[in-house]
Amino acid sequence: MTEKIELKINGLSVTADSGMTILDAALRKGIYIPHLCHHRQLEPIGACRLCLVEIQGEWKKTVISCKTLVKEGMVVLTETPEIQKIRQINVELIVADHDTDCLNCFQNTKCALQRVADHVGMDKKRLDRLKKPDKLLPIDDSNPFFTFNPNRCVLCGICVRTCDEIQNIQAIDFVHRGLGTKVAGFGDRPRLESNCESCGECIVRCPVGALTEKDAVRPTHQVKTICAFCGCGCGVVLGVRDNKLVSARGDLGNKASKGRLCVKGRFGYKFVNHPDRLTSPMVKKDGNFVEVGWDEALDLVADNFAKNKGDKFAGISSAKATNEDNYVFQKFTRAVMGTNNIDHCARL
């Protein structure tokens, strides 16, 4: 049973649920506490140490808010001079090690590191001293759908935990120690050679521009629909730009999938824009297909079907088509063609 817990954050009264962390309670109330490694669907690890807060009164101490649960009557300060000092050093260390070519990054304006740096601020002189000469690590673009750029990775571990906790695959982990630490497939191998299933769940959660979809384009509008591949029926939100599909993301509100997608649902929509799509009715004349208009094609089909009504006709419908398509198709076969010779490929 969750109980309501009253506490104060920065002097504001906050009502939280028992079992919630201070960070979640603050964020829910609209109070920003800088953080990088927190993700609401994953277990907290307290790695980035940016979400430090001070608890006052009898429990007085500085804690990591993503791992500390709320208590009745708690008084929390998210900003103090000491906390600011620690945060600033942490941010500077991360930024010093970061390829800050932001305008060329897909996460630009959506990036958690930009937000943290913006909130905490940096000392330019100190940053310049920390900054190493540009020595970029090689980019892993082995996967056909996404790229991993270690120079933009903040080592938050969200991708590693996603692959473990959400996908139960454990395709990637931290390799090496100290300054050389990075995320990679088992044994520092490229992702394509790991057991990664390309579900893309880690890309969706990466707070910065380290994991990005290849050829990513921002849509002008989005449409909620259902994946066209398997019987799980996952909810997918398709992004559209210039009458083309350019993106797909999981629909969090979908009861079957709860926001998750597999590789086909996330990246497979691209067949819709394929240049091989049939764009016009075609009739075979002397062994070759010739494009014709709808009227000519439909008249020809209707004339031929008229000759073979009854059990000389059969319709085979598709398990990929909609219910409405299939309903009309079986009605056509039964009511117009006069036969029950109708089936689909469910048996296969």
């Binding site: 056909p144 390309s198 629909t225 259902i226 591949f229 398997c230 019987g231 799980c232 029926g233 909810g235 559209v240 083309k244 599909l245 079957a256 998750r260 997608l261 597999c262 590789v263 086909k264 497979g268 067949f271 799509r277 049939l278 764009t279 009715p281 075609m282 009739v283 709808w294 089909v301 209707a302 079907f305 073979n308 059990d311 000389k312 006709f313 059969a314 319709g315 085979i316 419908s317 598709s318 398990a319 990929k320 909609t322 219910n323 299939n326 309903y327 009309v328 198709f329 079986q330 009605k331 039964r334 009511a335 006069g338 029950n340 109708i342 089936d343 689909h344 469910a346 048996r347 296969l348």
Partner: protein, 539 residues
């Protein structure tokens, strides 16, 4: 899905995918879930993470085995003895749900009698699975409840697919693992809208809503709704249609979004049949191998180009929305069929759009009666949804079964040999597989990245068999069955059992279905694609 309709009164998945996450035991038989139903597989893994026990029964060592408490690697085609063996253990140890059997089931005695033939010695010999594993699996399934069973084509795509399904439903009835949350008998349907296509009557023996075409009441209901006289004779099934084409009994064929050249068991037979058709129309989004054979090809709209609904494997009716205008002159399938109907002077095809079609469906199908586009705007609904104020049904059979008597029906079963025997000439058994990266073929083959990840068909073969035949990993080999032959690259792996090889069917370059067997399950008329005898040669 003929089996479940007999024993439980409904052929659909009894429970909901997300309920799997709360099961205490999951038996996954004949499903390579992580490959074919990845998001359902996540629920299975979630359950294991929370402490559930997973039992995997599969001739091949699949990815899910990493999470399994027991792995039963039975020989292909021996699902019935394996499950009957488990049930025998359950009865011998008194682990059955006696109250459930007495109150909610019938036909128990004759089923119990049929178990006599399945002593564990016999079962071990037939299945190749050690007795202690069968005992362990049986105890877990019966005692750590709620227990769910999931299965897929590994169960249905057999000459004895219906028996396999009945064995699964016997097991659930025996332990009362049905009619409650996180239990049940759950066939995971393959394509996105197989469930819907069945529900709305794309089947030769039933009208929309599984109303029998041979029932005079059902027929007169549809006759008066549609204003025409209807045939009182059940139609031909998919595979029978191809036979009838060959024999010249069927002259015209209208096919939507299907590619039997790749997907039909025994593809060469299907090609020959289609070539014999007087007139064939194919409606699809690509010029498929099958469309090439047609007289007229009509361009259909893709899923993102139309409004409508899909019904997923858990009976969930969900709204599909148009995101794009169709390419070129492509049109939604329903529109095309309506235009043809009008040209043939038929009435009742003036639908203004999918919402109106759904209204007509609801008026004729009791299970969809309460479903409308305005309700779906607020969220999906699981059928049965019999009225406007009904919130849908997450799990079936809560109070009674859908059979005539309302009781769950135990079915006596006997062991039957798999469809095809191996012999000197064809000494190995071939089973077919699915890949995570492909789905049948037409759509996924046209996504560049998916081809990089799942590059080509592979023949999986156990090192012992490979050595005997002198086959090295990645070597090209010829696979021949009694029906045809294909060339493919070999992958030597311990994931297969000795004597059994496996292969997918996603690639036009390697038409696996030239090999497979179209002997039909006598009840469900499902071709036994899963098992066929082959010979492998180096080339």
């Amino acid at each position: 899905m003929a089996g479940l309709a007999t024993s439980l009164g409904s052929g659909a998945m009894t429970n909901t995918i997300t309920e799997l996450g709360d099961a205490s035991t999951i038996l996954a038989i004949g499903t390579n879930t992580t490959e074919a139903h990845p998001i359902a597989a996540l629920q299975v893994k979630d359950a294991v993470r929370k402490g559930a026990k997973l039992i995997v029964a599969n001739p091949k060592e699949i990815e899910l085995c990493r999470f399994a408490a027991v792995f039963l690697q039975h020989k292909p085609g021996t699902d019935v003895p394996l499950l009957m063996g488990m049930m025998r253990v359950i009865l011998e140890e008194g682990l059955e749900d006696k109250a459930f059997i007495a109150d909610r089931c019938e036909n128990f005695e004759s089923f119990e009698k049929s178990l006599e033939a399945f002593d564990l010695d016999t079962v071990e010999k037939l299945t190749g699975v050690a007795q202690d594993k069968i005992i362990k699996a049986a105890r877990i399934y019966a005692t750590q409840t709620p227990s769910s069973i999931i299965y897929c084509m590994g169960i249905t795509q057999h000459v004895h697919g219906t028996d396999n399904v009945l064995a699964v439903s016997n097991l659930a009835l025996l332990t009362g693992n049905i009619g409650k949350p996180s239990t049940g008998v759950n066939p995971l349907r393959g394509q996105n809208n197989v469930q819907g296509a069945c529900d709305i009557g794309c089947l030769p023996n039933v009208y929309p809503g599984y109303q029998q075409v041979t029932s005079p009441d059902a027929r007169s209901k549809f006759e008066s709704a549609w204003g025409v006289e209807l045939s009182d004779k059940a139609g031909l099934t998919h595979t029978e249609i191809f036979d009838a084409l060959l024999e010249g009994r069927i002259k015209s064929l209208y096919m939507v979004g299907e590619n039997p050249v790749l997907s039909e068991a025994n593809a060469s037979h299907a090609i020959e049949a289609m070539e014999k058709a007087d007139f064939m129309v194919v409606q699809d989004i690509f010029m498929t191998e099958t469309a090439e054979l047609a007289d007229v090809v009509l361009p259909g709209a893709a899923f993102a180009e139309k409004d409508g609904t899909f019904t997923n494997t858990e009976r969930r009716v969900q709204r599909v929305r148009k995101a794009l205008d169709p390419v070129g002159e492509a049109k939604p399938d329903w529109w095309i069929a309506c235009e043809l109907a009008k040209r043939l002077s038929a009435k009742g095809f003036d639908f203004s759009g999918p919402s109106e079609i759904m209204d007509e469906m609801g008026s004729l199908m009791p299970t969809y009666k309460g479903i409308s586009y305005s309700r779906l705007e607020k969220g999906s609904l699981q059928w049965p949804c019999p009225s406007e104020d009904h919130s849908g049904t997450p799990f079936l059979h809560a109070e009674k079964f859908g059979t005539e008597t309302g009781k769950g029906k135990f079915m006596p079963l006997e062991y039957k040999k798999p469809g095809e025997d191996t012999d000197k000439e064809y000494p190995l058994l071939l089973t077919t597989d699915r890949s995570l990266f492909h789905f049948h073929s037409t759509m996924t083959r046209r996504v560049y990245g998916l081809n990089v990840l799942g590059k080509e068909e592979l023949l999986n073969i156990h090192p012992e068999d490979a050595e005997k035949l002198g086959i090295a990993d990645e070597q090209m080999v010829k696979v021949a069955s009694r029906r045809g032959e294909v060339e493919v690259k070999a992958k030597v792996t311990k994931k297969c059992i000795v004597g059994t090889v496996s292969m997918g069917f996603h690639f036009a370059e390697t038409p696996t279905n030239l090999l497979t067997c179209c002997e039909l399950d006598p009840v469900a008329k499902t071709p036994g694609t899963k098992v066929c005898a082959v010979r492998i040669e180096t080339i």
